[in-house]
């Protein structure tokens, strides 16, 4: 193996062979434990975008000591007990599509891959719930549910390459979330293995007033509090009607006003997307009317056809009142055709571009200021060529912006330094405007240094909770609560 490693500060494991044999004993077969170099490299990164640049340069972010593939939560419990006893880091792993470095083994340790845990435990057509193990892939789960006439409605862009566990770990949000909710609205209960080996099951109910809600604690915990092994989620019958419509606006302010008013009228389209002028030019080049405009698309769907018609009608009225011009269904069709076309990294990173996307959120009264603040800060960064944004998730009270940047590395910087400066610009622009530093990608390594500014003393409370649940700090160290720097 001939790699430079970014995060070199690996823990010492005095007797790795003994650990391996104990893990083999737990999972029952040596094929489910590996220290082979290709496996270590396979688990050395997630989809934090700077790691793609490193990959081309023959650099790996971090190397685990060992990978284990458990099949049951009892096995996970034994693995965590063992790790806790020996004080070895444990990194839960789903499909590695996270973009903030949360699955990178910065201190080495045991990588616990949940891919063997994909069973659908129950589809309850009376309660409209599905209970599934957390290693299940999103698209696979959708296929299984569609076959029997249902959907969850959680469709993140990583849908094809992420797991239920990953959605929970990062408190994810999907493209259809304005109607079906974010993952915290969808998950009703979960089974969790704690770092000290206990297996807990939160009670399944539609709602209760019975003390602090433990599921909420684990949503967005990024594998730092335990391993969520199973979840019961809401599901819905497949919609009978789906309709789409697009509008163009001269300025982003009018588009934000229109979408706010629609939401505040209690109209919940499944999908709303607002693309600023730069992104409209990139994505909707096929639409002649869209030149130098802001594109907004809406998708409505429901089991009752007249409900969809009513929503579309109200959307038309509100957009017209806000100076929107109807643009037909073409842009919506184009969005459906291209919504999973994720190829920019493959095309432009080899051409020397450093790029990423960063999502943040704010209340409506900060929206316009935040958009301009972030674009302004990004544009000031030397080497930035492209700074653009779209709004992708909406609430009656606020909005999520999703910014993209791309640029070339100035002579006096490394790619990583440039990457960090661009990220810093987005974070500063967001915090200055009173926004929140992440909407649905999570904290991981990328955002850990802004956690204090985001939360103030609440961060100390989070750390206390972490210490109680994980007293030896074995679960996914180097993320969320603490900054991790290259050695």
């Amino acid at each position: 193996m001939n790699f430079d490693v970014v995060y070199k500060k690996r823990v010492e494991i005095p007797n790795l062979e003994q650990l391996v044999s104990q893990l083999v004993h737990i999972v029952g077969n040596e094929k489910w434990v590996s220290t082979e170099e290709a496996d270590l490299v396979a688990y050395s990164k997630d989809y934090q975008l700077i790691t793609n640049r490193w990959m081309m340069e023959g650099v790996v972010p971090g190397l685990p000591h060992v990978i284990v593939w458990p099949e049951t939560e009892e096995q996970i419990s034994k693995i965590l007990l063992l790790a806790n006893e020996k004080k070895i880091p444990v990194i839960p792993y789903g499909e590695g599509s996270g973009v903030v470095g949360a699955a990178i083994p910065v201190y080495g340790g045991i990588m616990v891959d949940l891919k063997r845990m994909t069973k659908i435990i129950e589809v309850n057509e009376h309660n409209l719930t599905v209970t599934v193990q957390c290693g299940a892939n999103g698209k696979w789960l959708e296929r299984e549910l569609t076959k029997v006439g249902y959907l969850i409605g959680h469709v993140p862009q990583s849908f094809y390459s992420s797991t239920v566990g990953g959605w929970i770990a990062h408190r994810a949000a999907g493209q259809f979330s304005t109607k079906y909710g974010k993952i915290e609205d969808i998950v009703l209960s979960m089974r969790i293995v704690l770092p000290t080996g206990e297996i807990v099951n939160t009670k399944l109910y539609p709602r209760a007033s019975d003390g602090p809600q433990i599921e909420r604690l684990f949503l967005s915990s990024e594998g730092t509090l335990g391993i969520v092994t199973q979840a019961t989620m809401k599901m819905w019958p497949l919609p009978k009607k789906q309709a789409g419509i697009a509008f163009i606006f001269n300025v982003i302010e009018d588009s934000l006003k229109a979408t706010r008013l629609i939401l505040q009228k209690q109209i919940y389209p499944a999908v709303i997307r607002i693309y600023d002028k730069a992104e409209t030019e990139r994505h909707f080049y096929i639409e002649p009317k869209a030149n130098k405009k802001v594109m907004v698309i809406f998708v409505c769907e429901a089991p009752i056809e007249s409900l969809v018609d009513l929503e579309i009608s109200e959307i038309k009225n509100t957009c017209s009142e806000c100076k929107g011009i109807e643009c037909g269904k073409g842009p919506v069709v184009h969005w459906f055709d291209t919504r999973f076309t994720v190829n920019e990294s493959s095309i432009y990173i080899p051409k020397g571009q450093i790029m990423d996307t960063v999502e943040v959120s704010c209340m409506w009264d900060k929206a316009e200021q935040l958009y301009h603040s972030v674009i302004g800060e990004l544009s000031k960064v030397e080497g930035i060529l492209l700074a653009s944004g779209h709004a992708s998730h909406f609430y009656p009270n606020g909005v999520c912006f999703y910014f993209s940047f791309s640029g070339v590395v100035p002579d006096d910087q490394t790619p990583e330094e440039f990457f960090k400066l661009a990220w810093e610009a987005v974070m500063i622009g967001t915090l200055q405007a009173g926004g929140s530093i992440s909407h649905h990608h999570g904290i991981g390594i990328n955002r850990a240094r802004w956690m204090r500014e985001e939360h103030g003393p609440v961060l100390d409370l989070m750390k206390k909770i972490k210490h109680v649940i994980d007293p030896k700090g074995i679960m996914n160290p180097g993320k969320l609560y603490e900054e991790t720097e290259r050695e």
Binding site: A38, D39, A42, M56, G58, S346
Partner: protein, 413 residues
């Protein structure tokens, strides 16, 4: 995409470049010109540019990868296979380590990845190229070299007499218009399907030949393993036999043979002008021209497994509708679509001759597909690829038939 559409699509890049400072513009141009520095390696069969693109992708096709589904290990997800292969090619990981080299073989070449790829990349094709590099370095995982040696000695994927032992297979009409090129697997494992295909050709009044006493393998299975030199030997022999026969149309009962003769031979430098087609494509033409008319009731229920090579355009044509057209013409036939069919067909497990080097995984993939087909409740599993059919027969399931057998049942004797 036409030139005008391309200009529209990439207009924003032009604007970006020309609105940048001179320093940044130079950097952009430098980046475009020096892209190759990241992936260039000396002496490789691998399209390194595409391999890198695949390796940099967030694995958007992983849910469709049958090898990943049964191994459940990150190393065997498509983009990670590409990443590990990239590191092998660049010398960061040692190819001699067989656990590492195995990444090139944990793929059934089903092209499920390509079906979902926004860049139209087949990870399987890239891994085939990696296999060729491994072969050249004489790095073999168990089973692979032995298989190549055996096919070269026996001239078929089975025993030397696969084609010749059944005298009924040897039909050589005068001035044949068609060479019926039965596949090794069909001849060995489903001889009744070969006879059914001959019945259809005879009923249609087609003058055909088989030269089964001179026949050899097409070489396709060795191509997927990266033994390109072996394939060249078969290409030479087969093309000589086609020329000798005088036929201009080659009909195969195996889409892998079709792909090999139609495309691989040409890619390896053996140009030819034969019209190479599958039995399914040919039978549709016969039906449309009313050269054959299904008239007998076939009162059975069937489901159809689309071979990946046909339904995902690997042969250069996408063939999904022809089989359904044939079924629609058969009186009494109860055809039931499987949940994942057409270009979303699932792998049978036999692709990439996986059963030769990874039998356990190959069978596990096949079992998953059989279950989906059984869920239709149909009496017969029908396909148009002998490798799929052989896999289903080996693993067990409902009775398995070739599409030629079903069609032949509907024709009067």
């Amino acid at each position: 995409m036409g030139l005008l559409a391309k200009i529209k699509k990439y207009k924003w890049i032009g604007k970006l470049i020309f609105s940048s400072s001179l320093k940044n513009t130079k950097k952009i141009i430098h980046g475009f010109r020096h892209e190759k520095d990241f992936y260039h390696v000396e002496k490789t069969h691998v399209n390194m540019k595409e391999l890198l693109k695949c390796a940099l992708c967030p694995n958007m096709c992983r849910f469709e990868c049958p090898s990943l589904r049964v191994t459940q290990k990150e190393m065997y997800s498509p983009a990670t296979k590409a990443r590990i292969a990239f590191h092998m090619e660049k010398g960061n990981l040692d190819m001699v380590n067989l656990h590492t080299a195995e990444v090139a073989y944990m793929c059934t070449n089903c092209d499920g990845c390509r079906n979902w790829c926004p860049m139209d990349i087949s990870t399987g094709d890239l891994l085939t190229q990696v296999r060729a590099d491994l072969m050249e370095r004489e790095i073999y995982i168990p089973g692979v070299k032995e298989f190549n040696d055996r096919v070269l000695v026996n001239q078929t994927t089975f025993v030397p007499e696969t084609f010749s032992r059944n005298p009924e297979f040897n039909v050589n009409m005068e001035n044949p218009e068609v060479f019926y090129y039965m596949g090794c697997v069909m001849a060995e494992k489903k001889p009744e399907a070969v006879l059914a295909n001959m019945k259809i050709l005879k009923k249609a009044g087609i003058r055909f030949c088989t030269f089964s006493d001179e026949r050899t393998c097409c070489g396709g299975p060795l191509n997927t393993l990266g033994f390109f030199d072996s394939v060249k030997k078969f290409a030479k022999k087969n093309l000589a036999l086609f020329n000798k026969s005088g036929a201009k149309i080659i009909i195969t009962d195996c889409p892998a043979c079709t792909n090999t003769i139609r495309n691989t031979y040409k890619a390896l430098g053996f140009k030819h002008k034969f019209h190479v087609t599958t039995s399914v494509e040919f039978y549709r033409t016969l039906l449309e021209k009313e050269k054959i008319t299904p008239s007998k009731q076939v009162d059975v229920s069937i489901t159809y497994h689309d071979p990946c090579i046909s339904s995902r355009g690997k042969m250069g044509t996408v063939d999904i509708e022809n089989a359904r057209y044939i079924f629609s013409r058969i009186p009494g036939l109860d055809f039931r679509e499987v949940y994942l069919g057409g270009n979303e067909t699932q792998c049978c497990g036999r692709g990439g001759v996986s059963h030769v080097h990874h039998a356990e995984e190959s069978d596990a993939i096949g079992r998953q597909r059989i279950q989906q087909l059984k869920d239709t409740g149909a009496q017969y599993l029908v396909s148009a690829c002998p490798a799929c059919e052989e896999g289903f027969l080996f693993i067990g399931g409902n009775p398995v038939m070739d599409i030629g057998e079903i069609l032949a049942l509907s024709l009067e004797d």
